[in-house]
């Protein structure tokens, strides 16, 4: 890369975006090359969203955008204006039963990948309140855990689903 290209890259002006993150509205000035992950971590201090592989192969950076799990390391922040984002911090703040189930079943070892699992599992339970074991596996297969905690996640997600069934007014999914 020569100086001119670097300079050109650096002088592209920042743009304002609006993001709703965990129920709070933010107006942010972002550079075009910034990922959503970068903005969450560096600008909003939401470091629960983690970078493991950095290229969409591990799920550690998963957030829920407009109800769907997305990989925030693969999203440019500038493309996310107007979106509603839910991170692990929001899920924990809402006392989602996944959190307590994850602790009870010891789903974490080093814990670095755990938030990504929690977010992916939350997105699963939002769209499918009664997942089978195979459905859980299919939903979670994109999340990598180097410590090998996988068996515990299946138990925890099943338990959280059972708790939700009891607590949800209609027995269905939470909004």
């Amino acid at each position: 890369m020569n100086m001119a290209i670097v300079e050109e890259k650096r002088t592209v002006s920042e743009q304002a975006i609006d993001l709703e993150v965990n129920g709070e509205a933010h107006r942010l000035s972002v550079q075009p090359q910034w990922t959503l992950l970068h903005v969450l971590q560096e600008k909003l201090g939401l470091t629960g969203t983690k970078e493991f592989c950095g290229e969409g192969a591990c799920g550690a950076c998963t957030v829920i955008m407009d109800g769907r799990p997305v990989l925030s390391c693969m999203m440019l922040a500038i493309e996310c204006s107007g979106k509603t984002i839910e991170t692990v911090e929001g899920i924990a703040k809402a006392n989602h039963p996944l959190i307590e189930a994850y602790i009870k079943h010891s789903c974490m070892q080093c814990g670095f990948c755990t938030p990504g699992f929690v977010v992916t599992a939350k997105a699963l339970l939002d769209r499918n309140p009664n997942p089978t074991v195979d459905e859980i596996k299919e939903a979670m297969v994109g999340n990598l855990c180097r410590c090998g905690t996988y068996p515990a996640h299946i138990k925890a997600i099943q338990e959280a689903a059972a708790v939700l069934k009891v607590t949800a007014p209609t027995g269905g999914a939470r909004p």
């Binding site: 300079e7 650096r10 180097r146 410590c147």
Partner: protein
């Protein structure tokens, strides 16, 4: 000082025998369902890792890396990089402040250049360290550096590197040849020639073991901030006290009490990065720049850069084994040549020495240097050792038409002695006597269905067209290391909760919870009232998680501290309190002796009269209390008013510290008693060579379970990591260019949730560990032993041995003559 407990603690140092003072009953230790102390932080995203550290004004540093496998910098132009807006400093290899070797970490302290000029592998950090307002700007700055490289010849292959005339991989360190003459390790006992003469059958085979790596989820990184003359350091490290020791030697010497170390949660590296001789190189360079620009600096690797370090037992191994027809092994002779060992080797025949009755054993391990990254213990360095024992057991069984389980049982023992001899030693040293391997294999065989499903190799084709196989392997359990540990323990004023002090890297084993369980049981406190404050340096040098010695060293120190603190509490409870120039106040339990009191759930009470009780919180009293207001002659004033009831709590600080010194089994001073046995069921597709792992059964004699979640997590987690290492994980270099091809998680395949079938974990509690209450380590075992298990399972499926490791589809097809 509380005499009895201290005496016991000293007596238990250098422990080579059973725990002399276990508990009669356990309330929290070994209880299922103990809530892990780091659970909420890690599940909620609140847990902070070094890579998460953000400080006001913090800058970001990145290293230049070599594009060539072996090259030196002739000249370098950094002017364009320095002019880039946002760049605050570009540190160069020829900087006057970087011309000395510095102590930059490793298993012990190693002196190496912080910013070298010569690269010995593609991807090595050399030449320049760019520091900028953001990581992206630092990256851009690196791209603007112009380097004139002088490329050198390189060698990658372990066998080619041994040939005469091979290119020298590191002429500065090894000018004569690529063999590291300092790295030769010989071990053995008996006379192998005699042993082979006694044999009915002699087998000779060779195997190779590929490079795999830890792929830790948190990138290597670190942060340095100067607070005036004080250094504040965040280390991504499982060995914070070694880091502090190294840091204290920098810049002409930094006083230990002026270095503040933070060791936050660790996105694990399983030994790995923490053992590297240069692992503080980034921190050193960050410190130099932080001083110059007067701002904190965080250095980081990118994901690919983490892949250059790998396991230290990659190499080529030549084995000769003799056996009698009944499966009795008469001799084992082994030569191993391992790659790029940055640490002293431990020997390749060690498991035959420590774990079998084989009379005649000889092992010779040599180290060869090639132009790949450094290798260090990855989960554990015993992979090839376990693989050797595994292959010898299974190949002997195959050659003689025996069940490998029976071959293992027949040869189980230690130091050339059989199991009867070993059982006598167990009794002599005060351990309960259990035939650990027999217990483990019986449980494992039942769980996998060994007797029902076992069949001759290559004999069972399934309806889905795949070949069915069963595999078995075994070895001893380990908690190897020599280690020292210091633990501080303090009862907090106001509420009587307990804080344990001792800076240590958390690798996710749930060890902190286990220490809290020990403290809670020994103190008589509630589990939820105990916290291990492990992330900040409090001056105590607590044993690292290395070598599975979490509990067997720190567990002792925690127990010693807790027992002494409990005794201190009880003795204080019967003594006059608040002795001042004016007066003293009556004891909390007047007229009682310490042994008449007990503590349970944080309440001190009289055993014979439990109604006579006081909470520990009331006993230790509030912080900052000045006591009751007194007149000059010692009379309470404000009588009848609020002041009179002001609590009389002049108790001394309730603080204790325990410590432990332990010699390691590596020095051969402790016999191995506990065993592990693992079983695997596979299906192999003969058309594609793919191996499906249907079920793994892990059986570990852990001596005594302190924390079930921790032990089981290490077992099933280790099994899953082990399957990955045995089946798919290999760091691949291009032989022509010397460039690593798969330094990322797309092309280096670690297991997903769907890649490993059912994992059944079985724990055995024989009480035969050297740790407190009879514990033995489990952190490294399963992930290190299970990779070897795939080989006999696949052999049983396809009827032939697969050459090379891991057992990838191409190697399976080659073994089948299809590739």
């Amino acid at each position: 000082m509380t005499g009895d407990e201290k005496q016991r603690m000293l007596e238990l140092f250098d422990n080579k025998r059973a725990d002399k003072y276990p508990r009669e009953t356990y309330d929290v230790i070994g209880k299922r369902g103990v809530r892990r102390t780091d659970g909420y932080e890690k599940a909620s995203g609140a847990a902070k890792y070094t890579v998460d550290v953000q400080l006001p004004g913090m800058l970001y540093g990145r290293f230049l890396t070599s594009p060539h496998p072996h090259a030196e910098i002739v000249s370098m132009d950094t002017s364009a990089a320095e002019k880039l807006p946002g760049v605050r400093c570009v540190l160069r290899y020829d900087d006057p402040e970087l011309q000395n070797e510095e102590s930059l970490g490793g298993h012990e302290l190693n002196s190496v250049m912080p910013l070298p000029r010569v690269a010995y592998f593609q991807g090595e950090e050399v030449g320049a360290f760019a520091v900028a307002d953001s990581e992206a700007i630092a990256e851009d700055a690196l791209r603007l550096i112009k380097v004139e490289w002088k490329q050198r010849p390189f060698v990658l292959d372990v066998e080619k590197a041994q040939e005469p005339g091979a290119p020298l991989s590191n002429p500065e360190n090894n000018p004569e040849s690529n063999m590291d003459t300092r790295g030769i390790y010989m071990e053995g006992h008996g006379d192998v020639a005699k042993g082979f003469a006694e044999a009915d059958k002699i087998l000779e085979f060779k195997y190779t073991f590929g490079l795999n790596t830890w792929a830790g989820p948190e990138r290597p990184c670190g942060v340095w901030r100067w607070n005036g003359e004080f250094a504040e350091v965040w280390v991504k490290q499982q060995r914070p006290h070694i880091c502090k020791r190294a840091i204290s030697t920098w810049f002409g010497g930094l006083a230990m009490n002026k270095i503040d170390v933070h060791c936050l949660y660790q996105g694990a590296s399983f030994g790995g990065w923490s053992q590297m001789a240069w692992n503080l190189g980034g921190t050193y360079c960050a410190a130099v720049v932080a001083k110059r620009v007067n701002r904190p600096v965080k250095w980081l690797f990118n994901r690919r850069e983490d892949f250059y370090g790998s396991n230290m037992d990659a190499g080529v191994f030549y084995i000769k084994v003799g056996a009698k027809l009944d499966g009795t092994i008469t001799a084992v002779e082994e030569r191993g040549v391992v790659v790029n060992q940055a640490m002293p080797v431990f020997g390749i025949a060690k498991h035959f020495l420590e774990n079998t009755r084989v009379h005649h054993v000889h092992g010779r391990t040599e180290a060869v240097w090639v132009n790949k990254g450094p290798t260090v213990p990855t989960r554990c360095e015993q992979n090839s050792n376990c693989y050797s024992l595994d292959l010898v057991t299974n190949r002997v069984a195959e050659a003689l038409g025996l069940d490998p389980v029976e071959v293992a049982l027949k040869n189980d023992g230690a130091e050339g002695h059989d199991i009867d001899w070993l059982n006598e030693r167990k009794a002599e040293l005060g351990f309960p006597v259990t035939d650990s391997l027999r217990v483990c294999v019986e449980k494992g065989k039942a769980a996998i269905g060994w007797d029902e499903k076992r069949h001759p190799a290559g004999a069972k084709k399934l309806p889905n067209g795949k070949m069915h196989g069963l595999g078995f392997t075994w070895t001893h359990e380990w908690d190897d290391s020599a280690g020292t540990s210091e633990i501080g323990m303090y009862v907090e004023r106001n509420d009587g909760t307990v804080t344990i002090f001792g800076c240590r890297g958390d690798g996710g084993q749930n060890a902190e919870t286990a220490y809290c369980q020990i403290a809670a049981d020994e103190l008589g406190f509630r589990m939820e009232d105990v916290r291990f404050k492990h992330q900040d340096d409090a001056g105590f040098f607590t044993m690292t998680p290395d070598t599975s010695t979490n509990l067997s060293v720190n567990g002792w120190a925690t127990r010693h501290a807790a027992r002494m603190l409990r005794q201190k509490l009880l003795e204080a409870a019967i003594a006059p309190r608040g002795v001042t120039q004016l007066t003293s106040f009556p004891p909390a339990f007047p007229g009682k002796r310490a042994e008449e009191l007990d503590i349970k759930d944080g309440v001190i009470f009289e055993k014979a009269n439990p109604a006579n009780r006081m909470t520990v919180a009331d006993f230790v009293g509030p912080s900052g209390a000045q006591g009751p207001l007194m007149s000059p002659v010692g009379e309470p004033i404000l009588a009848g008013k609020e002041g009179l009831d002001y609590p009389i709590r002049f108790t001394p600080p309730m603080f204790e510290h325990g410590w432990q010194v332990q010699r390691g089994t590596y020095l051969g001073v402790r016999l191995r008693f506990c065993r592990q046995a693992h079983f695997m069921e596979v299906e192999v597709d003969p058309e594609t060579g793919e191996v499906d792992v249907i079920k793994v059964v892990t059986v570990n004699d852990v001596g005594k379970v302190i924390n079930w979640d921790g032990c089981e997590g290490q077992a099933y987690g280790g099994a899953i990591m082990g399957v990955g290492r045995g089946r798919t994980e290999e760091v691949v270099y291009d032989q022509r260019t010397g460039i690593m091809l798969n330094g990322n998680l797309l092309n280096y395949k670690i297991p997903t949730l769907m890649d490993v079938g059912e994992v059944e974990t079985i724990l055995v509690e024989s009480g035969m560990g050297y740790g407190p209450y009879g514990t033995v380590g489990i952190g490294e075992d399963v992930a290190t032993v299970v990779p070897a298990l795939i080989s006999p399972a696949v052999h049983n499926a396809i009827g032939t041995w697969v050459e090379g490791f891991p057992i990838t589809p191409d190697r399976v097809l080659k073994a089948l003559g299809k590739a």
